[in-house]
Every structure is written in C-alpha cells, then in structure tokens.
C-alpha cells in the first residue's frame, strides 16, 4: 500500500479496541481534520484515553490488547503487519496527563528523542526551536543544563510538549494535558495549543468541557453502551455545534451538565 495524500490527518474505520475479551471501544469512525484541534469528551471510563492511545499504538504495551478495524494515516492502516509501531510513535507524538520529563537536564530532555531518531542537524538549534515552539525558551534559556525536575509542573508539561515537537511529528495526542495543573498553567497550555495547531494536528482528551469548548475546533462525544459497557463515539461535529445544538439528546445532557 502506497502512502497517499489524504484530506484528513488521520481516520478511523470501524475501529474497535479490545482488552482480552472485553471490547473497550466499539465501532468508531472518525475523520480528524488537519491542523485543527479535535477534543474527545465523555464521562469517565468510556474509553477516551484508550481511543487516543490507539492512534500511536501505545496500547500495544497492554499485553492482551488488540484492535479490529483500521486507523489510516495517509491512507495506510497503522495496524498493518509491516508497520513498525516505533515509527508510528515518532510521527504521532504524545503528551501525557502527568508531566513526565526524563530525570535529565532540560537540554537532554529535548535532545534525546532527536538523537535516537537519527537527527543529524544542529542540536542546539533544535533544542532552542522546540523550546520556543512550546513557549518555554525565555524561561529556561539560562538553565538548560539544570534538571528538568527543577521546573514547575506547568513548565514541565510545556517541556514535554517541546520534547514531543522536537521529533517533528505530524499529530500530537494530548491525554488530559492540563488536568494536573493550576488554572494559570492550564491557560498557558491552551494558548500554546492555539499556536501549535498552525503546524500540527492536535487530538486532546479532556474531562473539562469548558476547556473543550474553548480550545477545540471539533469535538467527539463518547458514551458507553449500557449493555456491553463498551465506549463509542455518539456524535462528532464542529465544537460550536456540539455545544450549542447537538443532535443527540445524550450529548446535550452531558454538555449542559445534566449528566456525567
């Protein structure tokens, strides 16, 4: 299968995700727009993070997990046998819920990912660009050799974003990136996301509906099937539509706070 230009950044077709016999996510069809922010919202335990982690094959580390259906990047199914998950994770970066910088210097945090992926250019330049891209450069430019653990939680999370963009992915997955941060740090991350979407496609899982409404262009609403406890996307549309005139009654209940 040759890669082809697709109008979408990434696309799922009848995607189901299993943990052993348990179908955690069922029949998801999403077409994620390029250079937009897509939010995945829904009540706890409905499979948002599972779905997100399927995009860069992070679920592979759960021994019993497997998927049915397809996730297409440039028309190629990421779960094809000949696809190397390591390569997928370079193209689709990830920012985690809790800031998780490496216990190394700020500089090394950025440089390590580049080095292992065979980056040949000027490392200092890459570190500076990545930190600028994550709006962190001015705060850390004088202490690049210091431990990343000396930074505040919000700075650490931006360092993690810088680390993700240093390997120049196409898509950045964010798993509740601000849930462990204070409101001011959260605001800075949200502003940063608006900058980042000029160059990257962003998919974000969030519990915070105001956040989804503030930052995202598209929103996917997930919900559990009552009988099987599998999660699925019940509605996917432009964010303003999801939050003002959703088609599904359950979405309306959820976004207006009557449920969930």
């Amino acid at each position: 299968m040759q890669p082809q230009n697709s109008q979408y950044a990434i696309e799922t077709r009848d995607l189901s995700i299993f943990y052993g016999p348990f179908e955690a996510v069922k029949d998801v069809n999403l077409k994620i727009e390029k250079q937009k922010i897509t939010a995945i919202i829904g009540p706890s335990g409905c499979g948002k993070s599972t779905l997100l982690r399927a995009f860069n094959r992070m679920n592979d580390f759960v021994p019993t997990s497997y998927v049915k259906g397809e996730i297409l990047l440039h028309g190629v199914n990421l779960y094809n046998k000949e696809i190397d998950p390591v390569e997928v994770r370079r193209k689709i970066g990830m920012v985690f819920q809790k800031p998780n910088p490496f216990p190394k210097s700020i500089y090394e945090n950025i440089a390590w990912g580049a080095r292992i992926n065979g980056y040949k250019g000027n490392m200092d330049e890459l570190v500076e660009q990545s930190l600028r891209g994550a709006a962190l450069w001015d705060e850390v430019k004088d202490k690049l050799k210091q431990s990343a653990y000396a930074l505040s939680g919000g700075q650490q999370q931006r360092l993690c974003i810088a680390r993700a963009i240093a390997v120049q992915p196409e898509i950045i997955l964010m798993d509740e990136p601000a849930s462990a941060l204070d409101p001011i740090s959260t605001l800075r991350i949200e502003e940063l996301m608006q900058e980042l979407k000029k160059n990257y496609t962003i998919i974000i899982v969030t519990h915070n509906m105001q956040q989804a409404a503030r930052v995202s262009d598209y929103t996917a609403m997930m919900m559990l099937y009552e009988d099987t406890r599998s999660g699925t996307v019940i509605e996917y549309d432009k964010t303003e539509i999801i939050f003002t005139r959703p088609k599904d009654k359950r979405t309306e209940d959820y976004v207006t706070g009557r449920f969930g």
């Binding site: 992070m58 970066g93 990830m94 490496f102 292992i116 680390r163």
Partner: protein, 411 residues
C-alpha cells in the same frame, strides 16, 4: 435511623485508658525485641574483642639477651646472619641457605628466622581481654606459680603484621594475608560473573518477558526459591560442574597452567557467583520495577525502541538499586564458608593467589580452621581474623550506601 451504641460519657474515660494500655503493651514488646537484638550483637562483638587482645605468657628456649646486647629488631642484616651462623648447627644453616641465600633475605625475614629457629618463643598461656583488664594481679600470680620461667606481655593479636603476613603453623607468626587476598579474588570473580548475568536476566524478566506467561511465572518463582537454597547445595553444584566437569577450564590447563587441579579460586569464585546470582537478579528486578512507568511511556512516546528506553532511562535510574543489591551480594559471598569447604579451599597455604588458577584459602575458611585447633592461641588469631572479616563487610556496606546516595535520583 439505627442507634449506634458507642460508650456512654461515663464509660469513656475507662475505655480510652484501656486503649492506651493495649498500645503501651505492644510498644513494650517491640522495644524488647530491639533490645534482644542489640544485646546479641553486643555479646558477639565483645566476645570477638575478648579474644583478639590480652596477656600472653611465653617462654624463650634461648633468652635473646644472651645472644645480643641490643634488642634483636634493631640489629642489622649482617649481625642477624652472624647470630644465625653461631647458634644453628652447620647442617641447619646450610639447609636454610640453600632454600634462599642469607644475603638475599630481608632484615625482617632474618629477624623472623632468628625468633623462630633460635629464640623459639613458646606460648604457655593466653588470657582474654577483659580478664587481662580487670584481673591483672591474679594473672601475674598464676603465671609466677605455673610457669616460673615465662614472661607476661600484653599482646594485640590484631596488628598491621597480622594483615600482611601469610599463614604459618605457629599462631604467633600467622597472618591473614593469604586468606584476605583469597577472599578478594573470590568476591571479584563472583561479582564479575553474577553482576552482568544477573542484571541481564532481570532486564529480560522485567522489561521483555510477558509476566502472565506461565513459563515466565515458573521461572520467576524458582528464582525466588533459589535465593533460599542452602549454600552447601551450591557447593555440591560447584564441585560437580566447575571442579570436575570443567576442570580443564578452571584448572587453567586450557591456558597452559600445568600444576593445578580444578580446586582453584576460579572454581570457587564461579560457585559463589551462582550462589549470589538469584540475589542479584531479585535486587535488580526490584530496582527496575521502581523506575516509574511514566518515564518508559515518555521514551516510547518520542519513538524509542524498547532497548533505547531500557538503556537510556530504565538502567540509569535503576543503577543505585542494582549497585546496592550487588554489594549486599558481595557481602554474602565474603561470609559464605560451606561451599568453599566443598569446592576445596586449601587449609594451609602460604603463597598469595597469583591468578584465577591459583590454589586459595579465604577468611571464613581460615577462621573455621583456627577455631578448630586445640591450642588456645589459635583461638585468639581466629578472633582477630573475625574482626578483619567484619571490618571488610562494614567497608563494603558503607560503599554500598555511599554509591546509592551518589547515584540516587528523585522522581
């Protein structure tokens, strides 16, 4: 609503007091356990110290002042040679001269010869430290009565000389040099084998293997059990594998060493290596387990392979724990005796171990040998050797703590 029956106001005082009483009893139990532990350790230490120092009553076959006016240890080499010539029979002198020419011997070698062959110190009785300290007069009286010719002198059996002189059949001249070097060789070989193999196994079990897989679970359980297998069983294993089956390798025959059998320091070191291997594996596994998963995820998230993640993040962060575990394993290897007896440590050897294919002895073996002797002065040097062994263990453990603190990272 159900009514809850808590103590009434007037019962409360008694109830609270009963609770405190119970807590106090438990606290007392824990404290007494601690006291018992401290008492046992103190008793052990005092016992060892008691043997290592004390009065010694000895006699000369020939009084040193009859052969020289100056103290013997101030004499020059030529004077010592002259004394040897005058006081030994011609045959005995020539025999010594043939072993090693007198002119080539150092001052201290000659001095020891004079003491051993001419003066011939004979230990009559040794007294433990605390008696020497508190019952000096009594000891003096006893010596005057029983050994009228004997001199009484306070002696520290533990001395710099004790560390640097090799084994001897006379307790007064014996040292632990050979045993100390043997122990060092042993531990070096054991750890050189067990550390890479153990850490490798731990990495595989922790990072690569599927922990739900039944075979891996059996292996894991067995490693945990192996750590508790009696050391003598490892000795049998070492005897069968290293001493007998792999004799051509462990005796050095493959490398051109001819005068040795399989009972070498290499066989013993490898046996010790296998003995501590489960310990190293378990400790390394714990250290690897303690590295937070978020760091692995972060590494995978930027497109790292499993090996890159392990090498750059898991191992460096697990290093302090791995080091601590290895040094604890080393302490174990230093103290083990039973496997060495089976693998065949030499009981009397005066030559330093020079290579992995040397015959050897080790500190615990030496201590065991000396305590089994009938003469009381051997018990004194056994006690001194125990202090050397304890000091060595203490040094290793201190190193472990320093290393751990030096490499420790916080998440």
């Amino acid at each position: 609503m159900a009514r809850y029956t808590y103590p009434e106001e007037h019962e409360l005082q008694r109830f609270v007091q009963a609770r405190y009483r119970k807590a106090w009893v438990w606290q007392a139990v824990f404290l007494s356990s601690l006291i018992i532990a401290i008492i046992s350790l103190t008793a052990l230490l005092l016992n060892v110290v008691d043997g290592s120092f004390g009065y010694i009553a000895y006699e000369f076959k020939k009084d040193p002042y009859t052969i020289s006016e100056k103290p013997l240890d101030e004499l020059t080499r030529d004077e010592l040679i002259a004394i040897l010539k005058d006081n030994l029979s011609r045959g005995a002198y020539n025999k010594l001269n043939n072993e090693k020419a007198m002119e080539e011997r150092s001052q201290s070698e000659l001095y020891n010869l004079v003491i051993e062959r001419i003066i011939q110190i004979k230990t009559r009785e040794t007294y433990p430290f605390f008696r020497s300290l508190f019952e000096k007069e009594k000891i003096e009286a006893e010596v005057r009565e029983n050994f009228p010719d004997a001199r009484l002198e306070f002696r520290s059996w533990l001395s710099p000389d004790f560390l640097t002189t090799p084994m001897s059949s006379r307790a007064e001249f014996a040292g632990v040099r050979t045993a100390l070097l043997g122990s060092l060789w042993l531990v070096t070989i054991a750890i050189a084998f067990a550390l890479p193999v153990g850490v490798g196994a731990a990495i595989y079990l922790q990072e690569y293997s599927d922990k739900k897989n039944i075979i891996n679970r059996i292996i894991q359980t067995n490693i945990n059990n192996l750590a508790g297998v009696p050391s003598i069983v490892y000795g049998m294993l070492g005897l069968a594998i290293f001493v007998r089956t792999l004799e051509s390798l462990t005796s050095g025959a493959l490398f051109g060493v001819t005068d040795s059998n399989g009972r070498t320091v290499l066989s013993a070191g490898l046996t010790m290596g296998i003995l501590v291997l489960p310990l190293v594996i378990i400790n390394a596994q714990e250290a690897i387990k303690a590295v937070p998963d978020s760091i692995r995820q972060a590494a995978y998230g930027v497109g790292a392979t499993r090996w890159q993640t392990v090498w750059s993040h898991v191992l460096p962060n697990a290093l302090p724990g791995i080091l601590t575990g290895s040094i604890l394993a080393m302490s174990r290897a230093i103290g083990e005796t039973a496997p060495l007896i089976i693998v065949g440590a030499s009981t009397f050897i005066t030559v330093d171990p020079q290579s992995p294919f040397s015959k050897f002895t080790a500190l615990p073996i030496q201590i065991y040998q000396w305590t089994a002797r009938a003469q009381s002065e051997f018990h004194n040097i056994a006690a001194a050797a125990i202090i050397v062994l304890l000091a060595m263990l203490l040094t290793l453990n201190a190193t472990a703590i320093l290393l751990r603190n030096h490499f420790q990272r916080r998440y």
